[in-house]
């Protein structure tokens, strides 16, 4: 069940990504509609984060291309926002909550210019949206996991982007934060934004997302939740790894063999 859409906001064509020569994603072809709340779902090691990172051009790709709003990502950076995994940074960094959220404005500012008053207003607004305005001056190491996640979300909101990529925003957060985040995501969808969320909890997936991408080293399904989140497709996604596929991947790594003859 891989449904392709017309006028996609995100188009991934024949994407293969390898770590240390071992392919973790094989030939992904998918398109996502505008204004959708998309869940990227699959077991551990399925390449969910890898897919999102490759879409954002944070990883070298073995083959294929990604188009966002019909253009290469570097042309449309200002319309795109990324919420990395919470653990990807050192929270002991000497910065306040406000400092971190203000970073969301840096892309618009470009090199050399300093944040203006309007940028500070935007950062404060973003903090209000996630209910963290009282923590603006707090040192970031003093935050709980849920609060850290809200700060990252506020930083992304401060960018005022049209499409958001979020890597496990619900991992290790409290119930209150999870509800607050999903509320926020729904508001964003109503404003016509597209939100792509890496998600690991099957229970809540059906309720949260209107489009799901099922992934397990290859694309199993991509479509509206009610059609793609079926028993059969889930079994394909979670029903163990394709042993031959991962064995071939191991071989490629061991023999230092390229996964494609020429890089397209």
């Amino acid at each position: 069940m891989i449904l392709q859409v017309n006028d996609p906001v995100v188009e991934v064509h024949d994407l293969t990504v390898s770590y240390d020569r071992k392919p973790v994603l094989w030939g992904i072809d998918l398109t996502l509609p505008a204004g959708a709340l998309v869940g990227v779902i699959g077991p551990n090691g399925a390449g969910k984060s890898t897919l999102v990172k490759a879409m954002m051009d944070l990883l070298p790709t073995g083959s294929g291309y990604v188009r966002i709003f019909g253009q290469p990502i570097n042309e449309v950076r200002k319309r795109i926002s990324y919420v990395p995994q919470r653990e990807s940074v050192d929270w002991d960094f000497p910065a306040s909550v406000f400092d971190v959220v203000l970073m969301g404005r840096y892309g618009k500012l470009g090199l050399f210019s300093r944040p203006r008053k309007a940028d500070k207003d935007a950062a404060m607004e973003a903090l209000q949206k996630v209910g963290m305005e009282a923590f603006a001056k707090r040192q970031i190491s003093q935050l709980s996991g849920g609060q850290q996640q809200r700060v990252f979300l506020a930083r992304a909101l401060a960018q005022n982007a049209d499409i958001y990529f979020m890597d496990e925003p619900f991992a290790g957060v409290d119930i209150a934060t999870e509800t607050a985040i999903i509320e926020l995501l729904r508001i964003m969808r109503e404003q016509g934004k597209t939100v792509i969320v890496v998600h690991h909890d099957l229970q809540s997936a059906a309720e949260y997302f209107d489009w799901v991408v099922l992934l397990n080293m290859r694309l199993v399904a991509s479509g509206p939740t009610e059609r793609a989140l079926t028993q059969e497709l889930l079994e394909q996604t979670y029903g163990g790894k394709l042993t031959v596929l991962s064995k071939v991947g191991d071989l490629l790594r061991k023999q230092e063999f390229p996964s494609r003859e020429v890089k397209s």
């Binding site: 944070l58 570097n74 971190v100």
Partner: protein, 427 residues
Amino acid sequence: MEAFFEFFSFADANVRYVTIGSVLLAASSAVVGCFTYLRKRALVGDAVAHAVLPGVCLAFILSGTKNPFILLIGAFITGWLSLICIDFITSRSRIKEDTAIGLVLSVFFGIGILLLTAIQHSGNAAQSGLDKFLFGKAASLVGEDLIAFSVVAVVLLISTIVFYKELTLLCFDQAYARTLGFPVRALELLLTTLTVFAVVVGIQAVGVVLMAAMLITPAAAARFWTDRLPVMLLLAALMGAFSGIAGAFVSYTAPAMPTGPWIVLIISMIAILSFALAPGKGWVARIIRQRRNRSLVLEENLLKLLYHLGEQKQAYTVAHSLQELLQRRAIPEKQAKAGLQKLKSQGYATKSAEGWHLTTQGQRRGQRVVRLHRLWELYLTQYLHLASDHVHEDAETIEHIITPELEQKLMEELSFPVLDPHSSKIP
């Protein structure tokens, strides 16, 4: 002492120059070092510092002069080369970065020492003084050298101010910086170049062997005092500058002394003092906190004891002898006495001929501790389903830290209980 006043009156123009030079060098490497430290690339600074030595020597051999610009260029080239080697080794082999740094550092430094020895035995008249690159000599910072190195130091300071926003973002969240469209590779290159330059100018004062200390130690020390990056940069610069002046002073009063070790000793002293004295995070603050905790526990235990004894007799303010107290609970006699004295001075207990009494306030506080103890026992049995004979030990510590708000919450969650799991009344 005389030398001290002579130096710090700055009457001698030479002294002024040396001081200005040392301050600029030390401060600029401290500021650049803050970013290296925050990027967790401290060891890389050490590798670069050692790797500039062969560059300096080669530049001297090839040019035959000690022109600071030529030596700087030589230092810069090998410093850079070492970084490229580290990157190459880590990306093209299974060797991890720390190993690669160790390899590159020792190979480059070894070549440097080899060349230096060769120069010293070559009988070249101009060779004297090259060895100052090993351990530094602040007093030799005069004339052309001073101007050249000071200019580089000022450029370094200005660059970190101009690129403050970008460098901060790079150090905090590199992937995010890329998604914003910042030229991350170029910024990495910039920070590396700044680090190499800081090392190259700093070795004049400190020498290659100890240069890493000038990059990293001020940053690590400053981090203890503040959670704000601008303040951290400023503090690191001040600490660096102070050690720079001290180094210049030593170099001035004892020309035979290498300056580097002195500067490093002084900045290390500052760092050790910072680790010890910094508010909140320092050792002293932590020791004080632990002592305060211990004496709080002792006092509250004594109050609890007096309250328990009073509970048995249903008369809370009657006297109890010290012996009676110690029989009930094994507290070292000396500690118990000191604790009781403290309670007395705080007005929670009084002493008469018969022994120790609780005051009204003392009774209240004792009652609160006993209540918290029994509430916590009840909470553990009800919410954690622990057996009632397992909960006493936990409650012994928790009773001292529960705040009034938590107490209120506990009362609500347990729906205002009357008896604890051992059927004692919750007062």
